[in-house]
Symmetry: C2
Subunit: 130 residues, 2 copies
Amino acid sequence: MRLKNHIEVPSADVTMEGAAGCKVRWLIGERDDAPNFAMREFEVAPGGHTPKHFHDYEHEIYVLGGTGVIVDGSEERPLAAGDVVLVAPNDVHQFRNTGSETLRFLCLIPNSAAGRNVTVVPECGLEREA
Amino acid sequence: MRLKNHIEVPSADVTMEGAAGCKVRWLIGERDDAPNFAMREFEVAPGGHTPKHFHDYEHEIYVLGGTGVIVDGSEERPLAAGDVVLVAPNDVHQFRNTGSETLRFLCLIPNSAAGRNVTVVPECGLEREA
């Protein structure tokens, strides 16, 4: 049995193209010899977002705190604490923090995701002329 | 993509031998076509506990709120919000709420756990003469 508090796990910036203000902790992962799936915790700062992207494996998500939206293809759906999301393989998705507090969520993935391709979707029109 | 709030999911009493004051919501499971693993949320009332048990698949746990202990074999280890536990296959384990609020935690299992054997460990000495 392995027991730790989430704050003991190092937090790293998410450096994927299209990410802004995102940090991740790998709470349970390969180093823990988890047999089937990994547990990560994401923190998205106000105004920040994950990449708009898709991949051929699922996410299972539980929102711990904060408010925001999940982009579901071309639609935005509101997110708040206690919301649960199954992102199916190849669903285009993105998390955006639209509130004033950190958006925090767990996001679990199968071990088979390691090394799999992730496709970032261009976000036309998000940048505006100064 | 499937999105819901945890309170929309029906809560059922845990009726396994050795459980007391436990409820479970299957937040993401077979009905959602989750490809690899299931997300459940447990609520243990003050004084309540899950069975002391083991099985040949893992748990990945995130404590959402409340206080208690996890029994790790013959040892009791404290639990509080933000604690993360990997219960390895065949680890004897039990959750006990030792606080005054509901102990709430997520507990994820692989889909391969369906129909697998669970062994409840007798708890000698817990019942006392009236």
